[in-house]
């Protein structure tokens, strides 16, 4: 589908809108439906000192650490997952003190995003009692003013500059659909100041109008759309493709180089053909 719309931009143009030091919420979870082509483009453009906000990052945060793009990570659980275990370059960056880590439970990070999405300075969250994370992050607890005697932990608002999500389909106006779980993408797109969508493909607006209940993000909230087929590689994008496990293995092989891995990416192949 060839469409011109002011919202449709190239991957390079989209990544160029991110400044050094920006705070980015990245969609998906672990090796699934992450905006991985976008993350690689940030690396190509040499972005530095980024703040990455994501409940369960993996490949994305790891490769950004590997390329030296990260200043701070605010995350719940970081791993390659599958059968790959820890995220090696992320792990090294934290162990060497090269990046600042704000360690969350997935739901405390979400509470911070909810506070931003709801326009309130803090958000209470269930649980957390007895966890050292509260003292570590200097979270406050608030006594229920309605007399239940309950204390609840409250998380300060987390408002990323940009949420970047990888979606199955977008309209030329930015309306966005995801199949299968949308993970935490909904709250990210509500919490961030700006929303970028990398989509597997464009679908005509008419298709969205036929079943508007399927639209996760309405177009007016979306600043830019880049169309990158297989852009979640080497991860999965349900139901289109699965994790490319051999590619992840090659990525994990410390004998291999980052450049070799980057050269394998679908967006590189695409550019070579263009």
């Amino acid at each position: 589908m060839t469409v011109t719309s002011p919202k449709i931009v190239s991957l390079a143009e989209m990544a160029a809108r991110v400044t050094d030091g920006a705070s980015l919420a990245l969609g998906g979870s672990f090796l699934h439906r992450g905006p991985f082509a976008f993350v690689r483009e940030l690396i190509r453009q040499g972005r530095r000192n980024l703040e990455i906000v994501k409940q369960s990052p993996g490949y994305d945060l790891d490769i950004l650490c590997r390329a030296g793009c990260v200043g701070k990570a605010r995350a719940g659980i970081v791993a390659m997952e599958g059968n790959f275990g820890l995220a090696p370059w992320y792990r090294r960056a934290v162990e060497k003190g090269e990046i600042v880590l704000e360690e969350h439970a997935c739901m405390t990070l979400t509470a911070g995003l909810r506070a931003a999405a709801f326009g309130i300075p803090f958000q209470p969250v269930g649980g957390v009692h007895g966890s050292d994370l509260a003292a570590l992050n200097q979270w406050a607890s608030v006594r229920d003013p309605y007399g239940s005697g309950r204390d609840v932990w409250v998380i300060p608002a987390i408002r990323p500059d940009i949420a970047v999500i990888h979606a199955n389909e977008a309209s030329p106006e930015g309306d966005t659909r995801i199949y299968g779980t949308f993970n935490w993408d909904r709250i990210m797109t509500r919490a961030a100041r700006r929303v970028f969508v990398v989509a597997e493909k464009l679908e005509p607006l008419e298709s969205f109008r036929e079943r508007p209940e399927l639209t996760l993000v309405p177009g007016f909230m979306v600043e830019a759309v880049a169309v990158v087929p297989r852009g979640a590689w080497p991860g999965s994008c349900w139901p289109l493709y699965e994790v490319d496990y051999p590619a992840v293995e090659r990525y994990m092989d410390t004998a291999g180089s980052l450049a070799e891995h980057m050269a394998e990416s679908p967006e590189t192949a695409e550019a070579a053909h263009a």
Partner: protein, 244 residues
């Protein structure tokens, strides 16, 4: 003659035995054994229960068993997508009956560390981090964890960091099944090829073993279910679980 346990079948099957009829049971990320336990329970037990998972699945019927326990194939066949905010909220409001949660270290109170080995600020090993635990462990009705290694560095006297506290109902290792009793983990049963003494020796915390017995052998249906889920032994080989 009953079948013998392997370390792997011991963990998966004993996790499955924590699942109760009619309950809402959740399996999460980085959680291959609980994923297999839920699938096993669906095949091996006569009762129904609601399996929800981190891939948004609700009673899914996945066409393949994925390597990643958060693979979206785990929502295949589901009649709804119950995404992350939804299952966390269900848990914090008291609607999650059984929650499987990962752990690197567990202490005698059933608290967990998934954050760090060493000092948090000067880590020897940076672990994956908080994940679901700090919110789900205190709010799920019951939480159960597992370790593929039974040692004093996994079952510790003192956690390097308390990532999550409260609520841990059960712990399964290659040689033991613990359940919480009077606020502390107590031994419920041990692998018939191990012994109470061996479990004590390899555990970093003191525990009550009143009433503990050798673990009942896998039933024919449990064994058949696990074989059907892992016909090539791929998960068993990935998990690298050894009795000792």
């Amino acid at each position: 003659m009953p079948e013998a346990w392997t370390g792997f079948s011991y963990i998966v099957t004993n996790l499955a035995r924590f699942i109760r009829p009619g309950e809402v049971t959740f399996s999460g990320v980085n959680s291959t054994p609980p994923m297999l336990a839920c699938l096993l329970a669906k095949r091996a037990y006569d009762f129904g229960f609601t399996w929800i998972n981190v891939a948004g699945g609700v009673q899914p019927t996945p066409s393949r068993i994925p390597i990643s326990s958060s693979d979206p194939v785990l929502s295949e066949g589901s009649a709804a997508i119950f995404a992350n905010e939804d299952f966390y909220d269900l848990c914090t409001r008291g609607g999650m009956d059984l929650c499987f949660l990962g752990a690197a270290q567990v202490d005698g109170l059933g608290r967990t560390n998934v954050s760090v080995i060493g000092d948090w600020h000067r880590p020897k090993v940076r672990l994956p981090g908080g994940g679901g635990g700090a919110v789900m462990l205190p709010t799920a009705r019951r939480a159960v964890t597992w370790r593929t290694e039974h040692s004093k560095r996994a079952l510790v006297g003192k956690l390097d960091f308390v990532t999550a506290a409260g609520g841990m109902h059960g712990v399964v290792t290659p040689v033991a099944v613990f359940v919480k009793r009077d606020g502390r983990l107590a031994l419920q049963s041990w692998h018939p090829e191990a012994s109470l003494e061996e479990v004590r020796e390899r555990t970093g915390f003191a525990f009550d073993a009143d009433g503990a017995v050798p673990t009942a052998a896998p039933t024919a249906r449990e064994s058949a279910a696990l074989r059907a889920l892992d016909p090539q032994g791929r998960f068993e080989s990935d998990a690298k679980v050894a009795l000792r």
